[in-house]
């Protein structure tokens, strides 16, 4: 059955207007004067002109003692050491891969900071360099950890643990990095039959459940068998749940995703693309969160 779902903008729910959130304080747009007092220090997102401190990005002003920063509302990913990220290989270079990680510059993954298939630990030879494209080629997705941040802000990644490495079948989502909650673990095997990796860089990877003992091989052996239909529906439902959360600017972590997933079970996966259904799901989650005090 073919379905076409068109609306006109005017029919959009008026609800948003009534339920105006309390106005955020200290909101600035680029060029706004933050202060004329010269006693403050210039932090990220600000610049000094004519002895006045201006904002250079749109966001919220934050002050720590004498330091004034503007935290942008929408930003690319600013890496921190130890973050879990998901990236896509875009180039194979000399002894390194260039990886796209939604940050300002492309990140690098050195040949010396990956686990070779079989988990061998040894010096990387010329042979290995020739086989680089065999391990990871352009377009491949990897999960990795930020090892170091270089002077220009470029990230250096490593995958020296069996939980990191090449990703197999699944769906990649891109949401705002600020919505991902920093947690102890970013790898979750959800009870509903799928696993997710919440990259700190705003990339979320949803894949069919992995068996931790046998499948943690760094992803060099790929399983291209068809995924069963029920698992696929779970993956699609999780995808739509996470996008619904992101659309309503809700923080994304394992509990909120599970709440969204459970609330969405009332609807078909397809219906979750409609705005009124997503706002209903979000209402249900908010109620449940208030109830359980999380």
């Amino acid at each position: 059955m073919a379905t076409v779902d068109i609306r006109f903008v005017g029919a959009r729910g008026k609800k948003d207007n009534i339920e105006t959130v309390e106005e955020i304080q200290n909101l600035v747009t680029p060029g706004d004067i933050i202060t004329t007092d010269t006693g403050f220090m210039r932090g990220h997102g600000t610049f000094m002109e004519n002895e006045k401190l201006h904002a250079s990005v749109a966001g919220v002003v934050e002050r720590v003692n004498k330091l004034i920063c503007v935290k942008p509302l929408k930003t690319r990913y600013n890496g921190e050491i130890g973050d879990v990220v998901i990236g896509r290989i875009i180039e194979v270079c000399q002894r390194r891969w260039k990886v796209e990680t939604h940050s300002k510059l492309n990140s690098v993954l050195m040949l010396s900071s990956v686990n070779l298939p079989g988990g061998e630990l040894r010096r990387r030879s010329e042979e290995d360099e020739k086989l680089m494209r065999h391990y990871l080629k352009e377009g491949d997705l990897i999960s990795a950890e930020v090892q170091n941040i270089m002077g220009d802000g470029c990230l250096s990644l490593h995958t020296r643990s069996l939980k990191y490495g090449k990703l197999g079948q699944g769906t990649l989502l891109s949401i705002s990095p600020s919505l991902i909650k920093r947690r102890k673990t970013h790898f979750h095997n959800l009870p509903c039959g799928a696993s997710i990796i919440l990259g700190n860089n705003g990339y979320v990877w949803i894949s069919p459940n992995v068996n931790e003992e046998t499948d943690n091989t760094g992803g060099y052996e790929q399983n291209l068998e068809p995924v069963p239909n029920d698992v696929r529906i779970v993956v699609a439902r999780l995808r739509n749940s996470i996008l619904a959360l992101a659309d309503h600017h809700m923080i994304i972590y394992d509990t909120s995703i599970m709440y969204a997933y459970e609330a969405s079970l009332l609807f078909t996966v397809k219906d979750m693309l409609k705005p009124e259904v997503t706002s209903e799901i979000i209402d249900l989650i908010q109620q449940r969160m208030e109830l359980e005090g999380t």
């Binding site: 059955m1 073919a2 379905t3 076409v4 779902d5 068109i6 609306r7 006109f8 903008v9 005017g10 029919a11 959009r12 896509r88 875009i90 352009e138 377009g139 491949d140 997705l141 990703l167 197999g168 079948q169 699944g170 769906t171 990649l172 790929q222 291209l224 068809p226 995924v227 239909n229 696929r232 529906i233 993956v235 699609a236 439902r237 995808r239 739509n240 078909t268 996966v269 397809k270 979750m272 693309l273 409609k274 705005p275």
Partner: protein
């Protein structure tokens, strides 16, 4: 088009999803479902008619400007319609400079081919004095964001903008041999276009052995060949184009045409319903435009 290189495993995942007995695409849609669309007409004040369409991530702004001009010598008794597509570098950095030109000409050619049919739009009514004066409709399509399925989105936007178009009434006074045209000053003394039989493009993408409508960007990357067809509300096909490097079996083309025809009819009727509904809601409504 803005192509990201996807990994083998991701493509396999999408391919298997469509081959399934109960197809489930990555967002849970079936093979013949469109994503959510939102439309608004009359968003640009200095045009004769305009519309903005958002289809999931694809964002399109269409403006129609009616200008007086000379009819083409081949068709002296009808008006003209001219398409121009602009791919903004806001959509993707690849469109910067002349990067988007190829895609833009491709979209405008398909659009003009769809409308190059006397049954689609009554161009004769746009003629004022045969061989001398006619209305020329300049249709500008601006691509603001790419989220896949640009052709369908552009055509829906164009149809909505044409629905919204109002052309001033013109009276012709004849004095001896001189013809004089008088343009009405009254903003309500206008003519509207009949779009009941103008086409919408339906793109069918062949992925593996099956075809889907409204492919997302990721699905477009997996697609071997696609068939674009201009379908009117009655189900007649006004234009057909095959694109992509893969080849199609004649039988599958037939299948795709059947599907496209069916979906095109649904698409046209629901679009017209929405446009009429929007009009009924009257002048009270505020234009939302780009403020979310």
């Amino acid at each position: 088009m803005a192509d990201v290189n996807y990994s083998e495993a991701e493509k396999t995942f999408i391919l298997h999803g469509i081959q399934d007995k109960f197809p489930c695409r990555e967002d849970g849609r079936g093979c013949e479902d469109y994503r959510h669309m939102e439309i608004e007409t009359g968003v640009v004040s200095n045009t004769s008619g305009s519309a903005r369409l958002r289809l999931a991530n694809t964002d399109i702004l269409v403006g129609v400007k009616a200008e007086l001009g000379v009819p083409s010598p081949e068709k002296p008794d009808s008006g003209c319609i001219e398409f121009f597509v602009d791919c903004s570098a806001n959509a993707t950095p690849e469109f910067e400079g002349r990067g988007g030109e190829e895609l833009a000409t491709e979209i405008s050619t398909v659009l003009s081919r769809c409308y190059d049919n006397s049954g689609c739009l009554d161009l004769k009514s746009l003629c004022i004095i045969p061989k001398q004066q006619c209305w020329i409709l300049y249709i500008d399509v601006l691509l603001l964001e790419c989220g896949g399925n640009l052709f369908d989105a552009a055509s829906i936007g164009v149809k909505a903008a044409l629905y919204n178009t109002r052309i001033p009434n013109v009276t012709v006074n004849q004095e001896d041999d001189e013809m004089e045209i008088e343009l009405s000053d009254d903003p309500y003394d206008v003519n509207r276009l009949d779009i009941s039989s103008s086409p919408c493009i339906v793109t069918l993408s062949k992925i593996g052995h099956y075809h889907v409508v409204d492919a997302s960007q990721k699905e477009e990357a997996c697609c071997l060949a696609r068939l674009m067809m201009g379908v009117t509300a009655k189900g007649t096909i006004s234009a057909l184009k095959k694109e992509g490097w893969g080849s199609l079996n004649p039988e599958s083309i037939f299948d795709m045409m059947e599907t496209g025809k069916k979906i095109g009819q649904v698409l046209n009727t629901s679009l017209l319903n929405v446009l009429e509904e929007e009009e009924k809601s009257g002048n009270k409504r505020k234009t939302v435009g780009f403020l979310k």
